[in-house]
C-alpha cells in the first residue's frame, strides 16, 4: 500500500490526475468517516471530504515526503472540519437547519444487527456532537484511526501532553454524558409504562 501510495503521489505531482483519483479512492473512507464523525451529517461530510481532497490536490507540492501521507491527509481533513465547525458556530447555524442525518451504509447485514448498529451509531453521533470540536477530534482519531499520541499530536499540530489531557477530559466528558443519558432513559421507562393504559383508555 505504502509503495503504491508513493507512486501515486509522485505521479500526481507530475500532473497525472488519474493517479490522484486513485489515491483519493484509497483514502475516501478514512477522510469521509473523519468528516462524518466531526460534522455529524452525511451531506456535509461528503462536501467536507471532497473539499479536503481538493485542498490536498492543490497543496500536494507542499507535502513533506518524510511524513506519513495518511497523517498529512488526516491533518488537512481535521483542520477543514474544525474550520467548518467554527464557521457553523459563527454563523449560528443550528443542527436543525442542516440536511437530515443519513446513516452510514453497511452491506450484508441482518435486520436485528442493523437496528442495533443504527442505535449505537445514533448514540455515538449524539454524544460526539455534544463534545467541543477539539475533544471530538481526539476521540475520533483515537477510536477510529487507532493513532498513537505522537501521531495524534502530528495530525492536530499540538503536543503529546496536550493530546493526553484532551483525550482524558474528552473521555470523562463523554462518560458523564452517557451516564446522564442512561439516568434520563431509566426515569423515562416506568413513566411510559404507567402512562400507556391511561392513554389507551381515552
Amino acid at each position: 500500500m505504502i509503495d503504491r501510495e508513493r507512486v501515486w503521489v509522485e505521479e500526481a505531482l507530475a500532473g497525472n490526475e488519474e493517479s490522484f483519483i486513485q489515491l483519493a479512492d484509497a483514502y475516501a473512507s478514512p477522510v469521509y468517516n473523519l468528516a462524518y464523525r466531526m460534522l455529524g451529517n452525511a451531506a456535509e461530510a461528503e462536501d467536507a471530504a471532497q473539499e479536503t481532497f481538493i485542498r490536498v490536490y492543490t497543496r500536494l507540492h507542499t507535502y513533506d515526503r518524510s511524513r506519513k501521507f495518511s497523517s498529512w491527509l488526516l491533518s488537512i481533513a481535521s483542520h477543514h472540519c474544525i474550520d467548518r465547525l467554527r464557521r457553523r458556530r459563527d454563523n449560528a447555524v443550528s443542527l436543525d437547519e442542516l440536511p437530515p442525518w443519513n446513516e452510514p451504509a453497511c452491506e450484508g447485514e441482518a435486520p436485528v444487527q442493523k437496528v442495533i448498529r443504527r442505535e449505537r451509531e445514533e448514540t455515538i453521533r449524539r454524544l460526539l456532537d455534544q463534545l467541543p470540536p477539539h475533544y471530538r477530534l481526539v476521540m475520533v482519531l483515537r477510536y477510529w484511526y487507532d493513532l498513537s499520541y505522537e501521531e495524534m499530536a502530528e495530525v492536530t499540530g499540538s503536543t503529546v501532553s496536550a493530546i493526553k489531557s484532551r483525550l482524558h477530559r474528552a473521555r470523562l466528558h463523554m462518560a458523564e454524558l452517557l451516564t446522564e443519558e442512561r439516568k434520563r432513559s431509566d426515569q423515562w421507562r416506568p413513566v411510559m409504562g404507567k402512562a400507556q393504559p391511561v392513554a389507551m383508555g381515552r
Binding site: A24, A45, E46, A49, I54, C106, A175
Partner: protein, 186 residues
Amino acid sequence: MKCEIVQEQMMDGVTGTLGARRMAESYAHLRQCTSCRERWEALQRVESLLGHAQLCAPAPGFSVRLQKRLAHRRSTRWSPLAIFFIAFSTLLVTGLVFLPSNGIFQWVWYQAQDPRSLAWLQDVLDQLVITGRVMTHLAGTVMFMLFRHGWWLPILGYGLLAGLIIAAWMGLYSLTKVRRAVMHRA
C-alpha cells in the same frame, strides 16, 4: 488509595495499559468507593461503545464526483495573478484615460487664456517619460520575481507599481492645480 490517584490510573485501566499490580489496587478501591466505581463503569461504557465503532464509507461514486468537482474548479477558478492583472489593467486604463484628460482639458483652457504657457506641456511630457521609464524598469523586475518566487511577489511589485503610477498622476494633477492658481494670479 486516594480517589484522585485511582481516577488518574483509570484511563490506563480502561485502555488496558495499567500494570496488573496497580490494576488490583484500583479494583480494591473500586469495591469500596461508589463514586469511583460509577466513574469507572461510565468510562467502560464509553470504551465499549466506541471500541467497536466502524469506519463509514461515502456513497458509491465518490471519486467520480471528486473528479467532476476538480474539473469544475479548474474551469471556474481564477488564479490570483489573473485577478490582479485585470484589476491592475482596469486601474491603469482608468488612470490613463481619466487623469490626463482632466489635465488636457485644463491645458486647452490655459492655452485659450494665455498662449505663452507652453512650458506646461513640457511638464506633462516629462512626467509621462518618467512614468514610462519607471514602469518599464519595475515591470522587468516584477517579471523576474514572478519566475523566481511564485505569485505573491509580483503582486507586491505590481501593487507598488500601481501606487507609483497613481502617485505620478496625482502629482501631475496637483501640478495643474498649482499652475492654474499661479495663472489666475498672473
